[in-house]
């Protein structure tokens, strides 16, 4: 079905696949589909304030993911292991986005924390396939060998060799540069206000203020922006916002060789500190108590941070499904419409540009990822 034209003479944009949402998820999918030969129109509503990709912390993170969902742990691990190649594939005259693998650590600051990490690890190791998780406990001695800058309160932690971190904004911009260069991609800078299937050859019509996009298939990948369009396409975008507050410091000389879950040092030398988990609906502000908790924990992990100045802080809204796992769905009521939404747009970016885009091009998204069907939530709001 792929290989169709990108434009007609009517002023409509016409493509094999229209992707609604140009954040990390939509942009990675668009590039992956185009690399497979599909013509793609990517609909970019711009960076509104609830645009999750603009507020990301930047972890490429596997440990702790999918404790009762091995498929999610495996997808995260495949994506993390593909990240170095993914970042390289985005290299251009501006360079490739910053990515550092080599593993990640979650630091325990008390016996109680260490015990809760131990319990969580035991749960993961009880999964049917023990290779699904190679996160392991590390003691205080090994922690200090891996990250000498930790303070005396650090008792140990967990280490996962697949973890790493990346520059999320740099990645988003690199994706958009790659899309702008790609001959099979057009970007429409408009918010899609209505999406309908009208039963013609290119059945999907996406309307925006200045015109229309027609496509054989449509993929909603707009995070919180997908909820309004989903029901009309028979899709179940049951996501809610969860706020995370993040602090970034001035540049300091490199002291942190590995990402430490809520503390990571960027290639530029700035240190990112996170991250709260707050259910506050669509409020992306910052609050003194959450920032205090973030900063005090960071200083307990790395006492040297006490004298480092904060450059700025912000709040951003995660896109969370009821169980935190991605939702990948092919609509049964409106064939040709699909949904891709997840919380970990950075971690899964390599998979989205690779195997998930392949599944979309092959029209096998729902079939290849049955664990991520919204059917797991019970009765579908979209079918109601």
């Amino acid at each position: 079905m792929i290989g169709g034209p990108l434009d007609t003479g009517t002023g409509d944009r016409v493509a094999d696949i229209a992707i609604v949402g140009a954040g990390l998820v939509g942009a990675a999918l668009a590039l992956g589909c185009a690399r497979r030969g599909a013509s793609v129109v990517l609909c970019d509503a711009g960076e509104d304030r609830f645009h999750a990709s603009a507020g990301n912390f930047g972890l490429v993170w596997v440990q702790g993911k999918g404790q009762s969902a091995p498929a999610y742990a495996r997808l995260s691990r495949r994506s993390a292991n593909g990240w170095a190649d993914f970042a390289r594939s985005l290299g251009d005259r501006h360079g490739a986005p910053d990515y550092a693998g080599g593993g990640g650590i979650k630091i325990a600051l008390s016996e109680a924390e260490l015990e809760s990490y131990t319990t969580a690890l035991a749960r993961m190791h009880n999964q049917p396939d023990p290779t699904d998780n190679d996160t392991r406990l590390i003691d205080a001695h090994e922690l200090r060998e891996l990250v000498p800058a930790v303070g005396p309160e650090a008792l140990g932690g967990t280490f996962c060799p697949h973890d790493g971190h990346a520059d999320p904004l740099g990645t988003l911009h690199a994706l958009h540069r790659a899309l702008a260069r790609h001959p099979r991609v057009r970007v429409v800078r408009a918010r899609i206000e209505r999406a309908v299937a009208d039963g013609r050859v290119a059945p999907f019509v996406l309307e925006h203020r200045e015109g229309r996009v027609r496509a054989s298939r449509v993929v909603l990948a707009a995070g919180h922006g997908a909820t309004a369009l989903a029901p009309g396409l028979g899709l179940d975008a049951r996501v809610r916002p969860q706020r995370g507050q993040i602090v970034v410091t001035e540049r300091v000389p490199p002291f942190l060789p590995l990402a430490c879950h809520s503390v990571r040092q960027s290639a530029d030398g700035t240190v990112l500190l996170g991250d709260s988990k707050e259910d506050v609906d669509f409020d992306d502000g910052t609050t003194p108590p959450a920032l205090h908790a973030i900063l005090s924990r960071a200083v307990r992990c790395f006492p040297r941070l006490a004298r480092v100045r904060v450059a700025r802080s912000w709040g951003a809204l995660r896109v969370l499904s009821p169980d935190g796992l991605p939702i990948y769905q092919d609509s049964t009521r409106v064939p040709g419409a699909s949904l891709v939404t997840c919380h970990s747009g950075v971690t899964l970016a390599a998979a989205h540009a690779g195997e998930v885009a392949d599944a979309i091009v092959d029209e096998r998204l729902g079939e290849r990822y049955p664990s991520f069907s919204p059917a797991r939530f019970g009765s579908s709001v979209a079918a109601a």
């Binding site: 001035e250 540049r251 300091v252 000389p253 490199p254 002291f255 290639a267 530029d268 030398g269 040297r304 941070l305 006490a306 004298r307 480092v308 100045r309 450059a311 700025r312």
Partner: protein
């Protein structure tokens, strides 16, 4: 005054400071960062990422590109410090807060 920076209202420089040990006249209403830019300084310190040099970018306290030592305080943000008589400014180290590099 050298370089591209030019005072439009013709006011006289009246504040006495030292930059790297040299006596310099500054305008009463400027910051250390604008003074150093007017003097032609183009290397405020090394960038942690590589061999690039840091320089003021935002001039509003956000980019930390203008760090220098002001009255023995290393890592001072020059763009946030108004000049005052007797200020001693040392450039070139771009040193962040001492504890961070310890």
């Amino acid at each position: 005054m050298s370089g591209v920076w030019r005072r439009l209202d013709g006011a006289a420089a009246s504040v006495d400071v030292t930059v790297d040990g040299r006596a310099v006249k500054a305008f009463a209403d400027e910051t250390v960062a604008t003074l150093l830019l007017r003097l032609g300084l183009d290397h405020f310190g090394p960038h942690p990422k590589g061999d690039a040099a840091l320089a003021p970018y935002c001039l509003m306290g956000t980019c930390f590109g203008c760090l220098c030592t002001i009255d023995d305080r290393p890592g001072s943000q020059a763009c946030l410090e108004p000049v005052i008589d007797g200020l001693e400014i040392v450039t070139g180290d771009g040193a962040p807060s001492a504890e961070a590099s310890a």
